[in-house]
């Protein structure tokens, strides 16, 4: 129990220097700016002015911006950046499987698009 308390208080102290009020608002404005940029692209460039077309390029930009936002939330708001590196690796490395799963399922979806639509049905005699 004493040991547990030690970790708890130590934990609290160590993390106290991690995120000050100023830094919290900085991260907030980064998130706000990234979201505003997404809206500018979607509403401005694509919807109103027609400078960009919906498609691979715009989607890639959206996904990159989303991943940057996710990084800021996990690293700063969830404080993962300030944890021990072995803990960051432990929580992060499993997402290799998710990347593999994304590739797997999108390839599968594309296969179904091209091979399932005209799939012939033969009468069962």
């Amino acid at each position: 129990m004493a040991h547990h308390d030690h970790i708890a208080t130590h934990d609290a102290h160590e993390h106290g220097d991690g995120m000050g009020k100023k830094q919290i608002w900085q991260v907030f404005f980064v998130l706000l700016a990234l979201t505003a940029l997404e809206f500018l692209i979607a509403l401005g460039f694509v919807h109103h002015w027609g400078i960009l077309q919906k498609g691979a390029l715009v989607n890639t930009i959206y996904i990159v911006l989303t991943l940057v936002k996710a990084y800021y939330i996990v690293a700063y708001f969830m404080h993962l950046k300030f944890e021990k590196s072995s803990f960051i690796v432990t929580c992060g490395i499993v997402f290799i499987f998710i990347i593999y799963f994304i590739v797997l399922m999108l390839v599968e979806g594309d296969y179904l698009l091209h091979h399932f639509q005209e799939h012939a049905i033969f009468p069962n005699k």
């Binding site: 919290i24 979201t35 989303t66 021990k84 072995s86 929580c91 599968e108 979806g109 594309d110």
Partner: protein
Amino acid sequence: MSTTTVSQLDKVKDGPWSGGKSPWNLEYGKIMMWFFLVSDAFTFSAFLIYYGAQKFAQPTWIDADKIFQSVPGIAESGQPLVFVGIMTFILIMSSVTMVLAVEAGHRNSKQEVVKWMIWTILGGLLFVGCQAIEWSHLHHQGFWFGRNPATGLVDPDAIAAALEPYFTKDISYTAALQFSNLFFTITGFHGFHVSIGILLNIIILCMTLNNTFENRGTYLMVEKVGLYWHFVDLVWVFVFTFFYLI
């Protein structure tokens, strides 16, 4: 006298993983919260990846700009992204108030923790409220689990006419149905997480008011629930991108 040389094996190990101390220097509950969130991230990933796989497998898909274009109480149509923009802002904002509560907890300032927790709970309730409006709007248009506006129609022209407002390219009954199922499942699962988060936040608020953390000497519980709350925000960032932007 003989000089004793200590073999490599007999040396006392003092690395972070040699026992006797906490290698991650994190409290047990916090580690478990992280592991839970990692597993929860897997669930949400599976949902969103399936959404992507369906989209890749269909020759055409619903146009998000056409299906989500109302702002309740302001505009019935023609305003894509505005309402969901407000929802996104609310959730990011409540994430910020949550970190501010955690930050106040580090300073053992009960009053500030209470203040920021109340704002966080209000943000969560507002978000769930907006979600409910969005759901009922789509439901009125005819979308629901296993249903789209053309369900029950037989005439192909009538089906095409019923779904025409939601497509820019070719019209597909199956695509509209899959969109409907996945939208309600994924945003529903997310909304369920937000609701649970609000409940946890309320419990934490009550414990703060009861001086539980004050007596315990640490506001670590606020941090753990905060992790969950940020995760909910994180999931929304992805849901927003894949459902509303792409």
